[in-house]
Structures are given as structure tokens and as C-alpha cells.
């Protein structure tokens, strides 16, 4: 388990990083926290010829609130997200989610940009980006592109990023008044990738939802913003309605099979999460009990 030989360059600026990437194309890889890339290299699943280490690019690291937008630099580490009061205030869903990403040692190195670029369908942060309606900011040979999260993830470990691109930041709308969030995942052990998880962002209104965005992860080849949520907005929620949304969710998902779960089990767990989410956000324990019986 030793990586095959590779060349290493420490980028001195974003421009320098982009130059290196442009000249080496597919044979180069960006190194951020290394928590996904290095294990893959040691297992020789990937053998890049050049590693472009962007770790020194301070301009890519940090969290800032700019008016109604929360900007998170790509190199911001999971541990930074967890500690940030801006995150707690402006995107509390993210704070709740990051606590489930891996273990402290990995969170100390892993970055949000790396996680989104990696695009593991079982990852927490990509689903949060969907639920929060994030914009992914990318710089490439042709300049800067701003890609909606809903467009960004295209498959297992696949995104709209080209080999020459650098993910530089994400932008999130600051949480509105009356908004609420729910995060839960089912993982065999603390810190494991989830079997199924849900990152949900809602706007409450009276006894119901004015808006509900359900970002599911580990239910397919990419994070899924469930359309079934539409059935639950702007209406009075009843157990029957929840059951209907639940059935719609089940139809809409196309989960994969792996060692942890069959597609049937994933559908089942996704429905459990839906009912837990709705009953928790609306403080209606009756709904959940009805749905899972």
C-alpha cells in the first residue's frame, strides 16, 4: 500500500494552481485535505503524475458573511465549519451535518471543497448544498463559473468540474427568519459514511411548511433533492398526506445496493427519515408514529 511515484508541486497562487492544472490536464490532481485522495493513491486506485497542493492558498480558506450570502472558501476545513459561529447563525444545517463527517482527525484536515469535488454520494456536505440551495464557485482556464448545487453533482464521484478546474468557494443564502432544519443519518458506526441520510431545510408557516427542501444522500449515484417535498408545502399535514408523500418519495428514489443495504432497505430508511423530519420540524410526534406503524 504505497502510492506509485508522483511529482509534487505546491501552488503559490490560484493562478499558479490553474496553470499547473492546465498544463498537466488529467494527469494532475488537486490536493486539499488529502483525506480522500491519499488513501485512493495508497491503494493505487488513482495514480496521478502530479499533485498540485493548494494547501498554502490562504485566499481559499475562511468563512465570511456578505450581506445575505454566506461565503465559504474551498479550503475551509470541516473542523472550521464545526467551530464557526457564522455557520451556526447563517447555516445551522451545515453545523449539524459536519458533526457527522468522519472523525475529529479527519475533520481537522478534510475540506469542504475536497468533499464537494470528491462528490461521494454518501457524503453529508453535497446533500446540504442541495438543501441550502448553494452556488458552487469554480475557476478554470476560461475564468470563473458559478454552478447551482442542483446542477453540480452528476454521478458517483462526478461533478461539473473539469480536470483543469479549481473549486474555490461555495455561496449559501443566509438562513431566513422562520427557517428550521433537520439532519439525521443512519450509519453503522459514528463517523462512517451513511447508509441513508437526510439534510432538510424548511421555512415554517403556521402549522405547516412554506418551503421544504429535502436533501437525501446515499440513496443513489448523487445527492437527491426530493420532489416529494412539494406535496408537503403550503398544506395542513395529516398522516394520510405524509403517507402519500412517503409513497411518492419511494417511487422517486432509485437507490443502489451495497454491503450495507438493499434498495428496499434504503427506500424504507428514507421514508423513516421523512416522517421523523416532518414530525420533528412540526413538533408532531403523532405523525411519525402513524407513519412508521
Amino acid at each position: 500500500m504505497k502510492a506509485s511515484a508522483f511529482a509534487y508541486a505546491r501552488a503559490t497562487s490560484v493562478a499558479n494552481a490553474l496553470e499547473l492544472l492546465a498544463s498537466h490536464g488529467e494527469r494532475a490532481r488537486v490536493l486539499s485535505g488529502g483525506q480522500s485522495l491519499i488513501p485512493a493513491m495508497n491503494l493505487r486506485l488513482v495514480s496521478p503524475e502530479l499533485i498540485v497542493d493548494i494547501g498554502e492558498l490562504k485566499e481559499l480558506r475562511g468563512i465570511a458573511v456578505k450581506g445575505e450570502t454566506l461565503v465559504i472558501g474551498a479550503l475551509t476545513r470541516h473542523a472550521d465549519l464545526l467551530k464557526s459561529s457564522d455557520i451556526v447563525k447563517c447555516a445551522p444545517l451545515l453545523a449539524a451535518a459536519v458533526a457527522h463527517v468522519a472523525h475529529p482527525a479527519i475533520r481537522n484536515r478534510g475540506t469542504i471543497g475536497g468533499s464537494l469535488a470528491q462528490a461521494d454520494p454518501a457524503s453529508e456536505l453535497p446533500a446540504c448544498m442541495l438543501a441550502l440551495g448553494a452556488t458552487i464557485v469554480v475557476r478554470g482556464p476560461g475564468g470563473e463559473r458559478r454552478i447551482a448545487a442542483a446542477e453540480f453533482f452528476t454521478g458517483i464521484y462526478e461533478t461539473k468540474l473539469a480536470p483543469q478546474d479549481l473549486l474555490v468557494a461555495v455561496e449559501l443564502p443566509v438562513a431566513r427568519k422562520g427557517s428550521a432544519h433537520f439532519f439525521q443519518e443512519f450509519a453503522r458506526r459514528h463517523g462512517d459514511y451513511a447508509i441513508v441520510g437526510l439534510a432538510a431545510q424548511a421555512v415554517l408557516q403556521g402549522d405547516g411548511f412554506a418551503d421544504l427542501r429535502l436533501g437525501y444522500f446515499a440513496v443513489g449515484d448523487r445527492p437527491v433533492l426530493a420532489k416529494a417535498a412539494g406535496k408537503l408545502t403550503g398544506v395542513a399535514i395529516t398522516p394520510a398526506l405524509l403517507a402519500e408523500a412517503s409513497a411518492a418519495l419511494s417511487d422517486e428514489l432509485d437507490p443502489h445496493e451495497d454491503q450495507q443495504a438493499t434498495p428496499a432497505m434504503r427506500r424504507h430508511l428514507a421514508k423513516v427519515l421523512l416522517s421523523r423530519c416532518v414530525s420533528t420540524l412540526l413538533n408532531r410526534p403523532d405523525i411519525h408514529r402513524g407513519a412508521s406503524a
Binding site: 500500500m1 506509485s4 493505487r44 443512519f186 458506526r189 463517523g191 462512517d192 454491503q259 450495507q260
Partner: protein
């Protein structure tokens, strides 16, 4: 701690003033380990040392048609690329059988596969280079042509006529079969008021040591001597076998075992790749290092516990268990492991089922079959978790059937504490066990009645919690008959040499080994206590066939009981020798003198008479001042092996308190209790750590760990992300209590404590989950208890 046998009349050598016995004292090796100054094999660098990487078969079963290493041999840094045929010039194959396991058969196994590979991961070529990375690069350029053969993977069909026979010379895929029939089983089932049957399924799993298997082999052509640095539990066994197959005398092989990062039985076997490393060093006449990486550890470290066992129990309405019956099937891979064999686990299952109970009617069949998967062999608590899960699962099912409380049915059937010595229906002999005292103690520790009440209350709120109890027996301190009786040259005795050095400190050489369980500490505690010196004056030397007495090493929970007794007896002699010379120097009599706090003292008033360093000075440097004829002997050696009982059985009981989320199938471990009886406790903290560590491995089996093979014999989760080891986040608090019934076979009275935790943990959890699921009528007799398994049983998916 409560004691079953107190003997207040006589004080033993262990009850001396300032005794360390029964005290939690820090391990002497703690500083070394914590400061990072331990020496693991992978830390070792020798001049001219090369690194070997093994090219391993991607197929479970295939013919090797051609190996082309021409290109790889040209690569810079490559020292040699060696095939099985080439290596067979320096090392002979072996067959993993023992003559006392009648009928056990296996085929010759080579250090590197020749012509055919029999499991995914078997080594087909050795790539030796100046670094591991260089060797891995070269390995990618060795082209092997295979012809894939049909793989035998399902143990249930391994014996079918239509299934290919893995080793034609053996005639079939049956490695071993044992049938046992005691009492009147059919009659007992006929007389029962209820008979319950269940199929128990156990996931194949492995030990996952923190430090992987590693070897540095150093053939010194000038001395014609091979030095093997290896993390092993049994240095003299390795010495014997390396010599045997390399055509050397044992004196030409030295095995040095420095620090070892966990072992759990994984490192007590002879592995083909390790044998290949010794042979490569001899062939290439230079040191060769092999350090398994994590993927090859999963593919080649022994697996264990892959069993399917049908069980049957008969019970009367009053709770009396009338009979047990089992039919156990296990698949061990393509070879029986060398030299301890892969039949021991199934054999142990037959031995142990029903062991805690009075029922004399017991029928068992165990079949051990070959398959094209990694080899299986002994891993911590060999066979115990299977036997305990089957027995305790059946007992709970019987209780459920007749509507009796699980504690009550055990009270009515466990062998009474005053019934010893006695035997089990499988022919085991028990010297003294304490099932009832242990059960009473655990019921009290866990406040059983309160938990039951809580369970009822929570059920009304839709929270499903369960209590699981599992009584167990554990094999420790194997006696004179192991393993030599079956033809394996593994010493059943252990030896200790102690000497007083010239400044009054003690050097103690022992043949037991240390893998983290505290062998070094317990030896120093015993020597210090018996001699009357402080522990910081005792230096323990272990793990070197040139430096220590000949002995078996550390396995089967024998270090404290056997090696500890040897230490005690050797130190008694040294003490006597010291007192003899002290009496001469002080013009007193040995009977009036004692040793305490590093000095010879008066028995009568404890007054110090002469410091040990002063005594040593006289003996070593001024013997001219001693009277003529005085010949002090300040070194003593003793060996020990139990002779009376084949094993020192220990016993205990475990209890689990769990919560099952019936929506998701997730199990939360809320609390775990263990009461165990390992006889004399030398260091309570070490015993508790052994129990807790063992429990955690058992909980891993219960909920997480499984080597998942596909139908073509591919191990699909050979990495730490997909093979789930138990981690602290999921572990409950584990409370440990003790009952003490020392063995009379030794003065020390210690039995083993290394495996008890693993023996019963999974059984307790399984019973607890089934208890929680009672309202749903679901019964699960399969581990690991994954959410998928539980949701399926609940009919949710």
C-alpha cells in the same frame, strides 16, 4: 470481588508483606510504549535489508499457466523475483494435521503457490527490492497467466457430489468430522415438554491487529544461522518449524520477538508468506523484510468463526433442560492451517456446547470442509463464541417457550458450585467453577429486577429494550497434552530463570511472550512479591529463543497460569538460595530470615539485617570472605506444566442491555456486564482490561464484523472502511466483577483471563436483541445483527 475458596490457615508466598499480587500496578513497559520507544518489526532496519512484496492471486481458484517477470526484473531496485517452484529449492511444503484429531486431512501447502492457487490472496510470486514501494511498482509488471477454475465457496454444498474436489488427492472436501453422543439423547427429547430448534449463523471474521504481521529474516551465511525477527506469540514454535522446513537444526535458528502490536491468536500460526520470507533470506543471503499491508492482512491473516450450526434443546415445564443436540458445519479455506490445524475450532464447539449445564444428554456432529476462501484457524476464544451463542441462544429459546425467566432457567440448570470436581457431557473435567455465585453477582450488579421493570415501562412508549444473559466456560492453561500429543512441536511447558545481579536487582527470563496483555507486568509482580524486592528492581526478558528458557509462549490464556507459576517456583528457589547464603553471612538460620523491601530481614521483628545489594556484593566479589564450602547459587530456573486436568476451565456470565430501533433495525448497546472467575487475580486492572477488550471483540462479532465473500470467492470488503471493527463510539460501559476460585494445580492458583470476554459477548447481545423483539415475535439467530438482518426479521423490508 468475592472468594469461593478462602484458606485462612496458611499464608502462601503470595500473601507476603508488600505483595504485588492482587494489586493494580502500572505495567513496567508502559513508558517505553507511550514514549514511542517500542521496537516493532517494521521499525527494524538492517544493513543490506531488502523488502519483499507478494504478488497475490486475484482468483479464488486457478491454474497458474505462466509467470513472466522479465520486464519487472529489469526495473531499478529490484533484487529478485522468485516463483513458488524456485523457492521450493530451499523450503519444503507442510501439511496441517494433528494425529490426535482422528481423520483430519489436508493437502501439502507451499510457501508460494506452485501451479495452482486456492484462494484469492494466495501468494504466487515474491518480488524483492530495495524498498516496499519499488517492489510494489515491479509487482505491477509481473504478468501471470491464469486459467480460472470453479471455486468452492458455499460450505453447505462443499460436500455435494456435484461440487469440485479442491484437492483431488484427498478424495473429497471433508477435512474433519467429529461425532459425539453422550447419555440418552432421543429418550431425553421424548421426555421433554418442549423441544426447540434453531439454525445459528455466524459471520466469518478476523482479528485485525493494529500492527500487521511482520517479519525480518536475516540469514547469516558465515554463521549458517537464521535470525527471525517476528511479532509472534510462540517463538520456539516458529524456531522449530522454520528449522524443519529449511533443513536446519533448531540451534541454527534464532527467533526474536520484540514489541507486538496486538495478536489475538492471529500471530500464533505459521503463514506461507512468512515462511517464504525466511526462505528468501536464505536464498538471497541477505536480510529480507515483509510487512503485510492492510489489504493483504484481510486476505491472508487467518479468519475464524464461519459456522452454521443447527441446535436443538429439550426442556421440561419446570425448566429442566433434558438434552442438547448440535450439527455444526464450518468452512476453513483450502488448507488446514499449520501447525495447530483448522479443526480445533469445530472440535472446541463440540467440546463446549452445553458445558455450563447439568444435562448429561448431548449429541453433536461437527464437519469441517474445504473451500476456496482464505484459511481459517484459531482466533481469540477459539470456538467459544459459537458454542456459547448456540447454547445460550437455545437456553433462552427454551425459556421463552415455557414462559420462564432467563435467569431462572439458568439457576435451575447450571452446575451447582459445590458439585465439583465433575465432568461435562462432552467429557471435559471441571476442577472448580462458580456459575451460581457468578450469576447471583451479575444479577445484583445490573439490578436485574429494576431493568425488567424499566423494560416494561418503556415498551409502552414504543421503546424496545432487551436484556440478554450468557453463562460461559472458557478453556485456559492447556496441560501437558497440548499440542505435542498430536505431533506438533509446540512446548506445553513454560520456563523462567531468575537471577540476582551484583547490585541486588533481578533479571527474569521467561518463555511466555507479551503482545499487550501484560505478561511482562504479571511476571514482574510475581517475582517481586515472592522474592521480596520492589518491582522496579525486576527486569523481565522475553521473546528470544537464544535468551529465554524453552517454552510454549502466550496463547490459550496460558501466560499467567503457566508462565506465572514457573516464575513463582523459580523465584522461590532463588529466595531460598539467598536466605541460605544470608544465614551464613549473618550467622543465623534461613528459617529466621526473610526478604522484604530489597533486604534480608528478621522473621521475628522484621528488622533489616543485610541489603540484597550488599549480599550480592559479597557473593560475587568477595566469596573469599565466605566459609569454605559455601557455594551460593544466585540463579534459579523452573519449568511448569499442569498435569492433572487437561485444561483449567474458567467460567463466568455476561449480560447485555440493548435498545433496538424497530424502525431502522439499529441496535444501541446501552450497558454490558461481566462476572468472571479466573482464579487468583494477579493484577485486577490487567484482568479487567482483558475482559473489556475481549468483550469489545465479541461485540464486534455481534454487530459489525464480517468478511463478505461473493460467490466467486472474492473478499469484497478487505479494507478498514468496509470491514467494520467495533469502535469506541458504539461501545457501552462494561462493568466487570469477579468471583475467585483458584486452581489447586498450581501454587499461584491463576487460570486464564484472556478470552472470557470474547466467549460470551455476542451471545449476550443476541439474547438481548431477541428479548427486545419479543413483542414482534421475531427471533434472530444470526450474527452480525445488522440493520438489514433485523429489518428483514421484523418484516419491515
Amino acid at each position: 470481588m468475592s472468594s469461593i475458596r478462602v484458606n485462612p490457615e496458611t499464608l502462601s508466598v503470595l500473601d507476603r508483606p508488600n505483595s504485588y499480587i492482587g494489586k493494580t500496578v502500572p505495567r513496567p513497559n508502559l513508558e517505553r510504549l507511550l514514549q514511542g520507544r517500542a521496537t516493532y518489526v517494521s521499525d527494524m532496519e538492517l544493513p543490506r535489508m531488502a523488502h519483499v512484496v507478494f504478488l497475490r492471486s486475484p482468483y479464488a481458484h486457478a491454474k497458474i499457466l505462466k509467470i513472466d517477470a522479465t520486464a519487472a526484473k529489469q526495473m531499478p531496485g529490484v533484487v529478485a523475483i522468485v516463483t513458488g517452484k524456485e523457492l521450493s529449492a530451499v523450503i519444503t511444503p507442510w501439511v496441517g494435521v494433528l494425529s490426535h484429531l482422528k481423520g483430519l486431512k489436508s493437502a501439502p501447502q507451499s510457501a508460494l503457490a506452485i501451479d495452482r492457487v486456492c484462494w484469492q490472496g494466495e501468494a504466487v510470486a515474491a518480488i524483492v527490492a530495495t524498498s516496499r514501494a519499488t517492489a510494489e511498482d515491479a509487482a505491477e509488471h509481473v504478468a501471470v497467466e491464469y486459467e480460472e477454475l470453479e471455486a468452492v465457496t458455499d460450505m453447505r454444498t462443499a460436500l455435494d457430489p456435484g461440487t469440485p474436489v479442491i484437492h483431488a488427492s484427498l478424495g473429497d472436501n471433508l477435512a474433519f468430522e467429529r461425532i459425539h453422543d453422550a447419555g440418552a439423547v432421543d429418550k431425553a427429547f421424548a421426555e421433554a415438554d418442549a423441544v426447540v430448534e434453531a439454525d445459528f449463523i455466524f459471520g466469518r471474521h478476523t482479528g485485525v491487529t493494529l500492527e500487521p504481521r511482520s517479519v525480518v529474516a536475516d540469514w547469516n551465511a558465515a554463521e549458517t544461522r537464521l535470525t527471525i525477527y517476528q511479532g509472534t506469540q510462540a517463538p520456539h514454535m516458529v524456531q522449530n518449524i522454520a528449522a524443519l522446513h529449511l533443513g536446519l537444526r533448531e540451534s541454527q535458528v534464532r527467533v526474536v520477538c520484540k514489541d507486538v502490536g496486538g495478536s489475538f491468536g492471529i500471530k500464533v500460526h505459521i503463514y506461507a508468506d512468512e515462511m517464504a520470507t525466511y526462505a528468501l533470506s536464505k536464498l538471497l543471503r541477505r536480510p529480507v523484510k515483509f510487512v503485510a499491508d492492510r489489504v493483504e492482512s484481510f486476505n491472508t491473516d487467518i479468519h475464524a468463526r464461519d459456522h452454521r450450526c443447527k441446535g436443538k434443546i429439550g426442556v421440561k415445564r419446570d425448566g429442566t433442560i433434558t438434552a442438547f443436540e448440535i450439527d455444526d458445519l464450518t468452512g476453513i479455506g483450502p488448507y488446514s492451517m499449520y501447525p495447530r490445524t483448522s479443526a480445533i475450532e469445530a472440535n472446541q464447539v463440540v467440546n463446549l456446547v452445553g458445558g455450563p449445564y447439568t444435562s448429561k444428554n448431548y449429541r453433536a456432529r461437527a464437519r469441517v470442509v474445504f473451500q476456496n476462501k482464505n484459511v481459517m484457524c484459531q482466533y481469540r476464544a477459539v470456538g467459544h463464541p459459537i458454542a456459547c451463542s448456540v447454547t445460550e441462544g437455545l437456553v433462552d429459546l427454551a425459556a421463552m417457550k415455557i414462559g420462564m425467566d432467563p435467569v431462572e432457567i439458568r439457576r435451575r440448570n447450571l452446575i451447582k458450585d459445590d458439585a465439583y470436581p465433575c465432568g461435562s457431557p462432552s467429557g471435559l473435567r471441571f476442577e472448580q467453577l462458580s456459575h451460581h455465585a457468578s450469576l447471583s453477582k451479575i444479577v445484583e450488579m445490573m439490578d436485574y429486577q429494576a431493568l425488567r421493570a424499566e423494560q416494561v415501562t418503556l415498551r409502552k412508549k414504543g421503546i424496545h429494550r432487551g436484556i440478554g444473559i450468557a453463562s460461559f466456560i472458557e478453556v485456559t492453561n492447556p496441560s501437558a497434552a497440548f499440542y505435542g500429543v498430536g505431533g506438533a512441536k509446540i512446548s506445553s511447558q513454560d520456563g523462567v530463570a531468575v537471577r540476582l545481579d551484583a547490585q541486588g536487582s533481578v533479571i527474569c527470563q521467561t518463555s511466555i511472550t507479551e503482545q499487550g496483555q501484560g505478561s511482562e507486568s504479571l511476571t514482574a509482580q510475581i517475582v517481586g512479591s515472592v522474592l521480596g524486592v520492589s518491582m522496579d528492581r525486576v527486569r523481565v526478558v522475553l521473546g528470544d529463543t537464544d535468551m529465554t528458557p524453552y517454552g510454549g509462549g502466550t496463547w490459550a490464556s496460558r501466560g499467567a497460569g503457566i508462565g506465572g507459576e514457573a516464575a513463582l517456583q523459580a523465584t522461590k528457589i532463588l529466595r531460598k538460595n539467598i536466605l541460605d547464603v544470608a544465614a551464613v553471612i549473618l550467622q543465623s538460620t534461613p528459617a529466621d530470615l526473610d526478604i522484604a523491601n530489597n533486604a534480608v530481614v528478621n522473621v521475628s521483628d522484621g528488622a533489616p539485617r543485610i541489603e540484597l545489594n550488599e549480599l550480592a556484593r559479597i557473593v560475587y566479589f568477595r566469596p573469599d570472605t565466605l566459609p569454605p564450602g559455601t557455594r551460593p547459587e544466585l540463579m534459579a530456573t523452573k519449568h511448569f506444566v499442569p498435569r492433572e486436568y487437561p485444561f483449567a476451565f474458567t467460567n463466568g456470565v455476561q449480560a447485555a442491555w440493548v435498545e433496538v430501533d424497530t424502525d431502522t433495525g439499529f441496535v444501541k448497546l446501552l450497558k454490558h456486564w461481566v462476572v468472571e472467575d479466573c482464579g487468583t487475580i494477579i493484577n485486577p486492572q490487567l484482568v479487567d482490561e482483558q475482559i473489556r477488550g475481549g468483550v469489545v471483540q465479541g461485540l464486534g462479532a455481534a454487530l459489525f464484523e464480517k468478511c463478505i465473500y461473493d460467490e466467486r470467492g472474492q473478499l469484497t470488503n478487505a479494507n478498514m472502511a468496509d470491514y467494520l471493527v467495533p469502535m469506541s463510539g458504539e461501545m457501552p460501559d462494561i462493568d466487570v466483577g469477579h468471583v475467585v476460585s483458584p486452581t489447586r494445580e498450581s501454587e499461584l492458583g491463576a487460570k486464564g483471563a484472556g478470552e472470557a470476554g470474547t466467549a460470551g459477548a455476542a451471545a449476550a447481545v443476541s439474547n438481548a436483541v431477541n428479548d427486545a423483539l419479543q413483542p414482534f415475535g421475531a427471533i434472530i439467530t444470526e450474527i452480525p445483527l445488522t440493520p438489514q438482518v433485523i429489518l428483514t426479521a421484523l418484516g419491515r423490508i
